[in-house]
Symmetry: D2
Subunit: 434 residues, 4 copies
C-alpha cells in the first residue's frame, strides 16, 4: 500500500486494531451461540464480553506471537489475560484459526466495499451533474483520434456515468460474493463445532454462512472480487485517458482544476499538466495487477494450502486502498473539471465544416444524384477546404453544380448542429431515467 495513495478510513480497515476487534467479535459471538446451545456455560460466554470496550494491546500480542509463532493463539492468550484464564477457557472451542481469519478477511472486504460503493456514488453524482450541465455543449466526436461527427460533452459524461453505474452494480455483486463466513472447524466438517454457531456468528457479523467450506472459504469468491476491482479500475482509466486527451495543448477542451496558488502556473500558463488523470492511469495498472494472483489463488491443495495468504496480505489492502483513493481523486477531477466550450467550438470548426461532408453526400444522392457524381461533387469542394483552408459551406454554396440540386437553405441545414443533438434527450432518458 502506497501511503501517498491512501485515505485514512480505508487504511483503518486493514489496521491490526480493526483486525483484532473483528477477531474478538467473532469469538464472543461464537461463545454466545455455544451458550445458547448449552455447549458451554452462559457465564463464560458473558465474561468474554468484558473485553468489548477494552483496547487490545497490539504490542503485547506481537510479543506473544514472537514466542508462539501463531497469531491467533497470541491473540487468544491476550484475550485470556483480559477476561481471565478460567472464564476464557471455552473461547475458540472447536474452531480452527482459519475460521477466524477467513471470516475476518471477508468482513474487512465487505467494509472496504461499502466505502468503495460510497466512493462510486460520489463519482456518479459528479458525472451526472456535469452531464446535465453540458448536455448540449457541442464538441466534435472523434474516432481513431480523427474528427468524425459532433457529439456533446454531456454525452461524454453520460457514457462515463453509465459505465460507472455498471461498475457499481458489479461491485454490489462482488460484495455479495465475499459476504460469507465460515466457522466449520479444521477441515470444514463441523466435527467439533455445531453449524448453528456459524449461523449465529454470520448473522451477527452481517454475513451468510459459506454453504460448504474446507479449512478455508473458497477462493473463487475472492478471485471474482478482485477481478471486479480490476474492471472498475479499467473504467477509471477510460475516463482518465479521455481527460488527458482533452487537456492536450492542441485540443484543450478541458483541464483538471488548477488552484490559483499552485506554483509555476502563470509564467508558463499553458503548462498545466493533467497529472491527476495520469496518476489515475497508473493506479489502474496497479489495481489490475491484483487480478491474476487472485485467480492463481483459487487452486489450493486439498482442504487448503496457505499459498493464498501472502498474496492476500498484499492485494487485499493494496487494491482496496488504491481504488478508494483513485475513485475519490476521480470524483474530485470530475467535480472541478474546467470545461472550455469555446475551444470545443473552435475545434469543431477547425476543419472548415468538412465533418459535415457525409451529410452533404447523402443529401445529394437523396436528390437523385448518382453516388459517383455526388462523391465527385463533394470531393472537389472538400479538397479546396483541405488543401487551401477554405470553408466547406461557402464552397458548396458557390458551386453551381451543387446549387443545381441543393438550395441555400438545404445546404445550410446540413451544417445545423441540432441534427446531431436531436436524440440527446432520448439517450439521457435511457441513462438517467429522466
Amino acid at each position: 500500500m502506497i501511503p501517498r495513495y491512501s485515505r485514512p478510513e480505508m487504511v483503518a480497515i486493514w489496521s491490526p486494531e480493526t483486525k483484532f476487534r473483528i477477531w474478538f467479535e467473532i469469538e464472543a459471538h461464537a461463545c454466545d451461540a455455544m451458550a445458547d446451545l448449552g455447549i458451554i456455560p452462559r457465564e463464560n460466554a458473558e465474561a468474554v464480553w468484558k473485553a468489548k470496550d477494552v483496547e487490545f494491546d497490539v504490542a503485547r500480542i506481537d510479543e506473544i506471537e514472537a514466542v508462539t509463532k501463531h497469531d491467533v493463539i497470541a491473540f487468544l492468550t491476550h484475550l485470556s489475560e483480559i477476561v481471565g484464564a478460567e472464564q476464557a477457557r471455552f473461547v475458540h472451542q472447536g474452531m480452527t484459526s482459519s475460521d477466524v481469519l477467513d471470516t475476518t478477511l471477508n468482513i474487512q472486504l465487505v467494509r472496504a466495499t461499502d466505502i468503495l460503493l460510497a466512493d462510486m456514488d460520489r463519482v456518479l453524482a459528479a458525472l451526472k451533474k456535469r452531464a446535465f450541465e453540458h448536455k448540449y455543449t457541442v464538441r466534435i466526436g472523434r474516432s481513431h483520434g480523427i474528427h468524425a461527427e459532433p457529439v456533446t460533452m454531456g454525452l461524454t459524461f453520460a457514457r462515463f456515468y453509465a459505465e460507472m453505474a455498471r461498475g457499481r452494480e458489479r461491485l454490489q455483486r462482488a460484495r455479495e460474493e465475499i459476504a460469507t463466513g465460515a466457522i466449520s472447524g479444521a477441515v470444514g466438517t463441523f466435527a467439533n463445532i455445531d453449524p448453528r454457531v456459524e449461523e449465529h456468528v454470520c448473522a451477527k457479523m452481517g454475513l451468510r454462512p459459506e454453504p460448504i467450506s474446507t479449512q478455508v472459504i473458497p477462493r473463487d469468491r475472492h478471485a471474482m472480487f478482485f477481478a471486479t476491482l480490476g474492471v472498475i479500475a479499467s473504467s477509471i482509466e477510460n475516463i482518465a485517458v479521455e481527460i488527458r486527451h482533452m487537456q492536450r495543448t492542441e485540443v484543450l477542451e478541458a483541464e483538471e482544476y488548477f488552484s490559483k496558488g499552485q506554483k509555476g502556473s502563470s509564467a508558463m500558463p499553458h503548462k498545466r499538466n493533467p497529472v491527476l488523470t495520469e496518476n489515475l492511469t497508473g493506479l489502474a495498472r496497479l489495481i489490475r495487477s491484483a487480478v491474476i494472483p487472485a485467480m492463481e489463488n483459487v487452486a489450493l491443495w486439498h482442504e487448503r494450502d496457505i499459498s493464498h495468504s501472502s498474496v492476500e496480505r498484499g492485494i487485499a489492502p493494496d487494491a482496496t486502498v488504491h481504488l478508494d483513493f483513485a475513485l475519490n481523486r476521480l470524483a474530485g477531477v470530475i467535480e472541478r473539471l474546467v470545461v472550455y466550450p469555446e475551444n470545443m467550438e473552435r475545434n469543431l470548426n477547425r476543419l472548415g465544416g468538412l465533418v459535415m461532408s457525409q451529410r452533404v453526400l447523402l443529401a445529394l444522392t437523396q436528390k437523385g444524384v448518382s453516388r459517383e457524381d455526388a462523391y465527385a461533387l463533394v470531393q472537389r469542394n472538400a479538397m479546396k477546404v483541405w488543401e487551401e483552408g477554405k470553408d466547406f459551406r461557402t464552397e458548396l454554396l458557390s458551386d453551381p453544380d451543387v446549387r443545381a440540386v441543393l438550395s441555400e437553405e438545404e445546404i445550410n441545414e446540413k451544417f445545423d448542429l441540432g441534427y446531431h443533438t436531436k436524440h440527446v434527450d432520448t439517450i439521457f432518458a435511457r441513462v438517467f431515467g429522466e
Copy 2:
C-alpha cells in the same frame, strides 16, 4: 484457437458463415424497422429477405474485400449482388460498420455463453451424481498436504459443485453484461438513424439496446465477461489439481478413466498419468490470459479507436472455444473418475490413528486433566506411533495413565469416523437443497 482443444459447435459460432449470417439478419431487421417507420419503402425491406436462405459466398466476399479493404462494404456489395442493387439500396442506411460488427460480436458471445452454460450444467450434474455416490466415502482431509482430520469424498465433490454453481451464476450475469446491441451511427448520436431501429433489431436478435454507445459498445462489458471466464477457468484448475493429487502414485485415491485398449497400460500398470487434468491445468492458464488484454481494451480513445479489435479477434474465439473444451473434458473426467475407497481407507490409517490425537487431547482436558498433562500423555503415545510405527489406539488403551481417565469405550469412541461425518447431511442440504 488450438484445433486440438476445440469442439465443432463452438467453433461454428466463430466461422465466417455464422458471422455473415448475423450481419445479414441485423441489416434485414434494420430495414424492416425503417420500413415500419416509413423511412424506406416496405418493398425494399422485404426484398432483402430474399437472401434469407441463400448461402453467402465467403470467397467472393473476401475477393471484394481485397479491393475495398473494408469487410462490411465487401459483404454489403455481395448482398447487393444477391438482392439486386436497386432493391438493396437502403440497406445499412444511416448505420456505421461498428453497429453491425459490435452487435454481431455480442450475439456471438451470447451464443457462446449459452453453450458454456450447458457445459457447466453437464459438469454440475456429474459433480452432483458423484457427490451423492460418495457421500459417506471417508478419506483423510489434508491441510498443507498433510493429513488433518477425516472428510468424505462426497464433500469434495459437493464443494466443487458449489464452486461451479457459483461459476454458472457468474456466467449467467456475464451473459447479461454482453447481451446488448447498438445501432446508433457514426459516433453514437443516432444523427442518421432512428433509435427505434436499434430497439427493433435488438429485440429480434435477443439483445437489449445499449443505453449509450459511441461508435462502439463500451468495452467494460467485455472486460467483465472475460474476467468471468478467467474465474471459471481457475475453478476448473482447482478441480484438476485435486484429481492430479489424488492420482499420485503414493496417494492413488482416484484415477482418470483409462480405456482398456489404451497403449502401455498393463506392462506398467502404475503408469496411468493424469494427463487430462494436467491438460486442464494448462488450459486454465491459457483462458486466464485473456483477462488482462480485455481490461486493457476498456480505455479506448474518445468515441473509439480500433486497438480492441485485434485483441478480440484472438481472445473471443480462443477463450470461449478453450473453455468449452475444458468444461467438457472436465465433465468427462468427473463422470468417469475411478474412485478407490479402499485406498482412501488405507491412507486414512497410514498414520496409525494419529489424526485422532486432537480429539483424545480434548477428551482428556474435558475430564479435568490439565492442558499440560493431557498434552504430555498424548505426546508420549503419539511418539511411539510416529517413531516405532505402533497403533495409536492400541497404545492409548494400554497406557495406564490414560486409562485412569478414559474408559476403553471412551477411547474407542474417539476413533469413530461417524463423529466426522455427522454433519454431511447438513452440508449437502445447504449445497444441493436436498
Copy 3:
C-alpha cells in the same frame, strides 16, 4: 493464431510438416551418434536417411495417432513404413518422447527468433533512415501531452531506434536461452542413452545440450523467452502510440501512408485513421498475454507434468506469429510514414512563443533580476499571450522593463531553435555511433 495477422514464413515453422521434418532429423542424427558409438549397426543408421527427401504424409500420421493416441509413436510408425520396420528398429532407442518434442520446440523457437531478428533489422533500418532524414526537423517536445520545449523528429526516431536496438539485443539473448536440446531419456538420467548422443544431435541441430534436464527442458528458459517478446511488443506499442498521437486531427504532424486508391479518402480528406498503429497497439496486448502463462509453466511437478503443453501449443505459435506480423507492419508504417514538417512548425508556434518563457526567465535572473521580479516580468507578458493571443516575443520586445535588462538581440536569441538542437549531433553519435 489469427490468420489476418500472420506471415507465411513464420506460420510454416509451426506447420505439421516442419515439425515432422525436425523430428526426423533428430531421430536420424541420434541413430548416427549411436552408430558412431557402436551401439547400433551403422547400416541401420544409414537406412533411416532414406526418408531424408520423402515428404511425410501428415494425414497418415494423424490416422495412426487416432489409434495409438500418441503423436511420437504415430510418427515413428510412419517412418518405419518408409524406412522398413527391420531397418528402423533402432530408431528412438533409449529416448523418451519429450526428447524429441522439447528439442523440436526449441528448434522452432530458434528459427522463429531468427525471423524476428531479421524483422527487427528491418525496423531498425527504417528508424535510422527516418532519423537522419528528420535529424533537424524541429517539433515541439511534449510532457504530459502539454507543449514543453523543442525537440526534433529525428530525435524521436532515434530514441525508438535505441529502444528497438535494445530489444534486438534482448531477443538475441532470448534466442540463446532457448537454443538447447535434450536427449536424456525418461527422467533425464541418460540411463538408457549415452550423453554423447545428445551432444551429437544438438551440434547438428544448432543447439547446446541442456546441462541438466528432467523429462523436459526446464521452463524458466521459455518464461524468459516469452517475457522478452512481451517487452518488445511493449516497445512496438510505444512507437504506435506516438504515431497515433501525431496523426490526431488537431496535431497532424504525421500520418500513416494512405494509398491513393484507398476508398473514401478524398470526400473526407481528413478522415485518415491511424488504423495500422491502433492495430499494433492491440497486437502488443495480445503478445504480452503470453508472458504470465509462460511464467506459470515454470513450476512443473517433479520430473515433469504436462500442464505446460497446452499453454505452449497456444502461445508459441501465437506470440511469434503475431510479433513477426507486428514488426513488419511497424517497419512498413515507419518506412512510409508521411511527416508534415510544416504542421510541426505550426504547432510549435501555436502558443505564440510561450514555450520559450523559461529561457527568458533564466536570462533575466542571469542579468541580476531577482527571481521574484523576473517571474513577474515574464508572467505579465505570458498572460497577454495566453489570454489575448498575442505573440510572446513581440510583447517582450515592447515591454520597457524587460528591455531595460535585455537587448533586442538577446531577446531574439531566446527564440533561436538552434539552442535546442545544438546537441542533436552528440545524441546521434551516441545512438548510431556516427
Copy 4:
C-alpha cells in the same frame, strides 16, 4: 510492501533518507561537473558538499512539499537551508526534476539488485552443498506425479542450482539494463545542460549515461528488469512446489526444518506443514504481478507522461523487497531441509519393482523375444505385482518363460540402481564444472 516479508537492508534502499541522500549526491556531482566546465564557480560547487554528512530532515522536507506540492523543489529548498541560499544558487541548474528522480530510481534498483545477487549466491551455495551431499541418494523420479524411473536427490538439487544460476545471469543482465542515468533536461535535448555533466554524474554514481532520453529514462529497461524478477520468482515457485510435494504425508521424502520448541509438533508429530514453501509459492505470484504493469508503463505519451510513477512507487519497492525476502527464505529452507533417504528408498520400492519393467522388456527384446511376446511376459508378472502386491523381481525369477531367456544374474542386473546413476557424474560436471 508487506512488512512481514521484508528485510531491513532492502527496505532501507527505499527509505526517504536513502532517496534524499542519492538526490544530494546527484546534485552535488552535477555542480562539480559544471564547475569543471567553468559553467559555475568552483566555490559554489564545493559549498554544496557541506551537506555531505548532514542528515536531511525528512519532516522538514515534507513540510515544504505540503506548500510547494513538488518533492524535488522541497528538497532543494531544504538543501539550500543547509548550504546557504547564496552558495546553493546554482544547484540543479539546467536540470529537470526527472533527471534526479529517474537517475535515483535506477541507482536504487541497481543497489537492490546487488542485494538480490548476493541472495542468489546464498541460494546457489546451499543448493550446491545439498546436491553434493545427496549426489547418490536415490529416489524415484516422477512424471505426472506417477513413479517413473530412479533419479537422485542430488540431481534434483543440481537442476535447481542450474536454474538459479541461469536466474543469476539474467539478474546480472537486468542490472545492466537499468544501470543508466540521465541528466538531459526538460525534454532530453541537453538544451540547458552540457552532456558532460551527465557523463560525470553517471561515472560517479556507477551508471552509464542513457544514450538518448526524453524527460525520462525509457521504460523498456524497467519492463525487462521486472520481467526478469518475475522469471526468478517463478523459479523459486518451482523449487517450493517440489518441496511441498516431498513433504506430503504420503511421500515424506523431505521436510522443512522444524525447531524443537515449535508449538504443537509432538502431540501431532505428523502435522509439520510446509508453510515456508507455501509462502514462497504465494510470494512468487505477488512478485510476478509487477510484470504486466511494468510493460504497460513502456508506452508513455511523447516525451513523457507520469502514469508510470504511481506504478513504480508500488512495484519497485514491493518486488525487490519481496524477492529479497523470498530468496533468503528459500536459502534457509534449502540449507536446513531435512531429507529422509530411508523414505525415498521406501517409496522407490513401493511398487514392488514395477518401475524397472521397461528395462526388463528391453532386455527380453534384445535377447530376441518379439515385442508382443516380451510385452505379454512382462505384463503377466506386472499384474501380479499390481493386483496382488507381489514383488516384481521375485515373480520374474520364478517365471520359467522369463528364465528361459534371462538368467538370474541378468534379471537382478535390471534392478541395479547403479544403472540409473551412472551418468550423475557427467551431469554434475556439466552443472558445477567439477
